[in-house]
Amino acid sequence: MQPLIQLKNLEKAFEAGGQKFFVLRRINLDIQPGEFVTIMGPSGAGKSTLLSIIGMLDGAWTGEYFFGEQPVHKLSVKQRNELHKYNIGFVFQSYHLIDTLTVYENLEVPLSYKNIPHKERSSLVCDALDRFNIVGKKDLFPNQLSGGQQQLVGVARAVIQNPRLILADEPTGNLHSAQGEEIMELFKRLNDAGTTIIQVTHSEKNASYGNRIINLRDGWVVTETPTTVAGSAQ
């Protein structure tokens, strides 16, 4: 099967004081459609950087990156943006909801960048509100929601147009355990429905929801470990 994501010799470095400092070294990675992959590693290992590159938010790297059949490394910035816009949803640790917009409007934001007519946008937002049980909160602002509710909105925003891939950077980092469990269960359901998920986490419990763990250290992929049982790590 054609992997959804293929990384070949992907590297990222920056220059400082005449020296080259690598953030990621010779990353070779395949991720199949429908996988639930966890990226783990100590602080500074390059996890979030790898996630940003996969999510096409960072274009300063070398190597090859195929998204489906698309050679991302050969695409222009505009083409990458289009590819990312229609295929990838982001969930952030700090939720990153827009404080001046209501829940409804926050959900609408990604749709407004995709030339979707107003009526269709309304329909999609209402579906999302319904699907995530947050209809009653549609007119509230983020500062009127709890952390868990905000992250729920963040997840809803990420999946509103059924992306092929969800990227989650420490999605439960700012939540207490019960809220975190809710969110991870949600991810599991989405994955079961066919959405590919890549998460960055320090939590082994969260990692156990996925089927594979990729360990990074100092920018290198050191191990890839399958998780055999849902909800538990081997």
């Binding site: 940003s52 938010l57 990153h96 001046t100 934001v109 990604p110 407004s112 960048y113």
Partner: protein, 820 residues
């Protein structure tokens, strides 16, 4: 789709601004000041320069004058006017006019009315239709025609209660009855030399009982207006008139030798030299708008730190950069439109106030107002301002580093923002400095002018017009002389009056009158145009003392220099230098045209600045002669009752002196009219009105610029202090005292100020050369002005930095270190 997203951006923009009322208020007010000032000035430029003249096919209209050896634009004699009319091939019509003051009697209280002698086709030439009745018909302007008159609508309403039956009624002007044949509408406005605006009555020129009217060589103050035939250019018309005047010169060499015609577009004649002044002010006010935009840009940059995350999220959610920029620009344009609306209100108020202070400063001032052009300009400049101040912050915000910004606990990247703010503050300091220097130079020019000796003493002296009773219009010359002497005696006897003198002919800083002469020992020139010219002051014995003009040599007139004694004159320095260089002119004689005896020079007096405090020195005709009133020939005395000027000197500041004079005048005759009273200080002030107008406006703009620049630097330093509070806390924890922090922050601000002043000074050296022609008595690169303004701006800017610096010095290190 575009409409939907724009509507969305507008809604979000309004909401964002509503959440930040403080920022919104400062930004809107700043822009309102900048846009308002520009709108105000544009409304003036629109009304004065851009609006078409209110006449049909105005581009075909030209003014005409006779060019003479001493005058490029001299008055046209009546016989020459008639010949120009007949002989030219390029003008479809030609009219002449002359301003004149009439005594209106028999309709309530006697009063002086501002009138105009016109030829019959004056109003048809301009395409002016009467409100009621008709204008003059051909033949009505001939000498001996039946006396008719036209009223201006203002006079008709004020004096005659807008009586619909006015047509056919008689009015009495200077004791003569005229039948009213029409009313000219209030919408008629024109303002050219010899035809000022606000005329109240129009009379055919043939009604003027001047004995010299038919004299071909007599320039009696008539100037002409013509309409070019379709397809004819002014150049072609000029060539045609050159041919006509050449032919007349050949036919009438005595009077017309050397006389030509000078044509000028009516527009240029009406506007005078105001255009360069207005354009200079427009450039200056553009600086104010730039500074306002820079201020708001700085505010936005500071505010954008808090919105970096929002826009990073939007980009992460798929927003292209152009979309982010569009959203930010929409918010900016929203601010600028609201600022523009407020600015429009300020402009309307400000323009009215400015024109109220100096109504005489602008030609066509009645055209200044709010119209579609001004509204369009305001909308356009608001849009431009929004883009101008919004673009840089929008581009900076949209270029955010997504990774850094979206990381947990990431701070905004302020480095590049701070760089942009620095550039902006330095730029507005420089712009403010240039404006302040310009204003400073103009103010010093005005101050120089105020201090310039006009050649007479304007303190405790006044002038007014005097029109003798209508019965004097037909009185004998000796009766008229007696009446004038009686008037002088009565006024001189009033408490507080130190001296009084009639003054006919030229009036310093007012109007000119010329006399032709030739020197004794020379043969009388065959043509008047071969004679010499001098400015002509016809005055009484007390004139020198009343005006405070110094006597250099000999004596001035006495009451004994009258109609029974030999003709005497006085001359000024310039006359003496020109015609009697290195000689004492006292005792010399000259021959004055139209006098049947030579005149002896009895005194040498100081020169007065006839043409203006700033322009007299460069005029070609400056020589001045003085002739005693009572020695004027009888035909001239016969015209004196229709109006002359009187000057009075008081013993000190005497309140209500004019009221006393009016009472004394009323006792002499209920039909003797005084009008147009002014102190001599007001005369000087009025002569400087256009300069004062420019200086006031430029000073206002410079003051605005200083205020905005100070707010700008205050804002930036405050922002920097906020950003550096952590660093300040560390410094204090390491031993820095309050004064060290104060010095640190002031040094930061000081660097910006010095950079701005340095760039501003360099720019000012070049830019002030552009206003060289507006300056008087001060060099465009005057070091004193440059230095004083630089020091003033430094002090104000450092004071603006002091407030946030003090705040920084009071930071609690514990709190600062706990921050973030």
């Amino acid at each position: 789709m575009m409409l939907q997203t724009t509507w969305q951006d507008l809604r979000y923009g309004l909401r964002m601004l509503g959440k930040n009322p403080g920022f919104m208020a400062v930004a809107v007010l700043t822009l309102a000041l900048g846009i308002g000032a520009n709108t105000a000035l544009f409304s003036v430029i629109n009304g004065v320069l851009l609006n078409p003249l209110p006449f049909a096919q105005a581009n075909q209209l030209v003014t005409l004058s006779e060019s003479k050896p001493n005058f490029e634009y001299g008055s046209i004699s009546y016989p020459n006017f008639r010949d120009w009319q007949k002989e030219n091939h390029t003008l479809s019509s030609l009219a002449v006019y002359r301003s004149y003051a009439f005594s209106l009697t028999g309709a309530g209280e006697s009063q002086q009315v501002k009138g105009e002698f016109v030829s019959a086709d004056m109003f048809p030439l301009l395409g002016v239709k009467p409100l009621t009745g008709r204008t003059f018909v051909p033949g009505e302007d001939e000498i001996g025609a039946a006396p008719v008159a036209l009223l201006a609508e203002g006079l008709w309403r004020r004096k005659f209660g807008a009586n619909p039956d006015i047509l056919g009624k008689a009015i009495v002007l200077d004791g003569k009855s005229y039948v009213v044949v029409g009313v000219i509408p209030a919408s008629f406005h024109i303002s050219v030399p010899s035809f000022p605006d606000n005329r109240e009555v129009f009379v055919p020129l043939g009604q003027w009982n001047n004995p010299l009217l038919n004299h071909r060589g007599a320039g009696l103050g008539f100037h002409g207006m013509g309409r070019l035939r379709p397809g004819v250019t002014i150049k072609q018309a000029q060539a045609d008139m050159d041919s006509v005047t050449s032919s007349l010169a050949a036919t009438y060499p005595d009077s017309d030798k050397g006389i030509g015609a000078k044509l000028m577009p009516l527009r240029r004649s009406m506007l005078g030299e105001i255009q360069p002044t207005l354009l200079m002010l427009f450039a200056a006010v553009g600086f104010v708008l730039l500074i306002a935009c820079v201020n708001v840009a700085n505010l936005l940059l500071a505010r954008s730190t808090g919105r970096t995350r929002e826009f990073a999220v939007r980009v992460a959610l798929g927003a292209p950069r152009s979309r982010v920029v569009r959203q930010l620009l929409t918010e900016c344009i929203l601010i600028s439109m609201i600022g523009g609306a407020l600015g429009l209100l300020l402009a309307v108020w400000g323009t009215r106030a400015a024109l109220g202070i100096l109504p005489q400063a602008l030609p066509r001032a009645e055209q200044v107002g709010l119209d579609s052009h001004v509204l369009l300009f305001t909308a356009g400049i608001s849009l431009l301002a929004g883009i101008l101040f919004g673009l840089a912050p929008a581009l900076k915000t949209s270029r955010t580093n997504l990774n850094e910004t979206l990381k947990q606990g990431a701070r905004g990247t302020t480095g590049s923002r701070r760089g942009a703010q620095t550039v902006f503050v330095v730029a507005e300091m420089a712009l403010a400095l240039v404006l302040l220097i310009g204003a400073g130079l103009m103010a010093r020019s005005l101050a120089h002018l105020w201090r310039t000796d006009p050649g007479f003493d304007p303190h405790n002296a006044m002038t007014f017009g005097l029109s003798l009773p209508p019965s004097m219009m037909s009185a004998k010359p000796e009766t008229i002389r007696a009446s004038i002497r009686e008037f002088d005696r009565k006024i001189a006897a009033l408490p507080g009056v130190a001296g009084v003198s009639q003054t006919w002919g030229a009036v310093p800083l007012g109007w000119d009158d010329e006399q032709l002469f030739w020197l004794e020992g020379q043969a009388k020139p065959t043509s008047q145009n071969d004679m010499n010219w001098a400015l002509n002051y016809i005055v009484e014995a007390d004139y020198l003392r009343v005006m405070g003009i110094p006597l250099r040599q000999g004596r001035f007139f006495t009451p004994q220099d009258n109609e029974h004694s030999p003709l005497v004159i006085a001359v000024d320095d310039v006359f003496a230098q020109k015609y009697f260089p290195n000689e004492n002119p006292v005792g010399k004689r000259i021959n004055i045209d139209n006098f049947n005896q030579p005149a002896e020079i009895v005194g040498l007096v100081g020169h007065v600045k006839q043409w203006g405090l700033d322009s007299d020195d460069t005029e070609s005709l400056r020589a001045q002669i003085y002739i005693p009133c009572m020695q004027m020939p009888d035909p001239f005395i016969a015209m004196a009752p229709s109006g002359g000027q009187v000057v009075v000197r008081s013993t000190g500041a005497v309140p209500d002196l004019y009221a006393s004079i009016r009472r004394a005048n009323a006792e002499m005759s209920g039909e003797q009219v005084l009008f147009g009273a002014q102190t001599l200080e007001q005369v000087i002030s009025d002569s400087l009105a256009p300069r004062r107008f420019s200086a006031i406006l430029l000073g206002t703009f410079a003051g605005l610029a200083l205020l905005l620049a100070s707010i700008g630097i205050y804002g930036v330093i405050s922002y920097v202090v906020g950003q550096r509070s952590n660093e300040i806390g560390i410094r204090m924890a390491l031993g820095a005292k309050s004064r060290d922090i104060l010095r640190l922050v002031l040094a930061d601000g000081g660097k910006l100020v010095l950079m701005g002043i340095g760039i501003g000074l360099a720019a000012a050296v070049g830019l002030t050369q552009l206003i060289k022609s507006f300056l008087y008595g001060v060099d465009a690169a005057d070091p004193l002005t440059f230095a004083a303004v630089a020091v003033l701006l430094s002090l104000v800017a450092l004071a603006a930095c002091y407030v946030p610096a003090r705040r920084a010095a009071r930071v609690d290190p514990v709190i600062a270190l706990r921050y973030e």
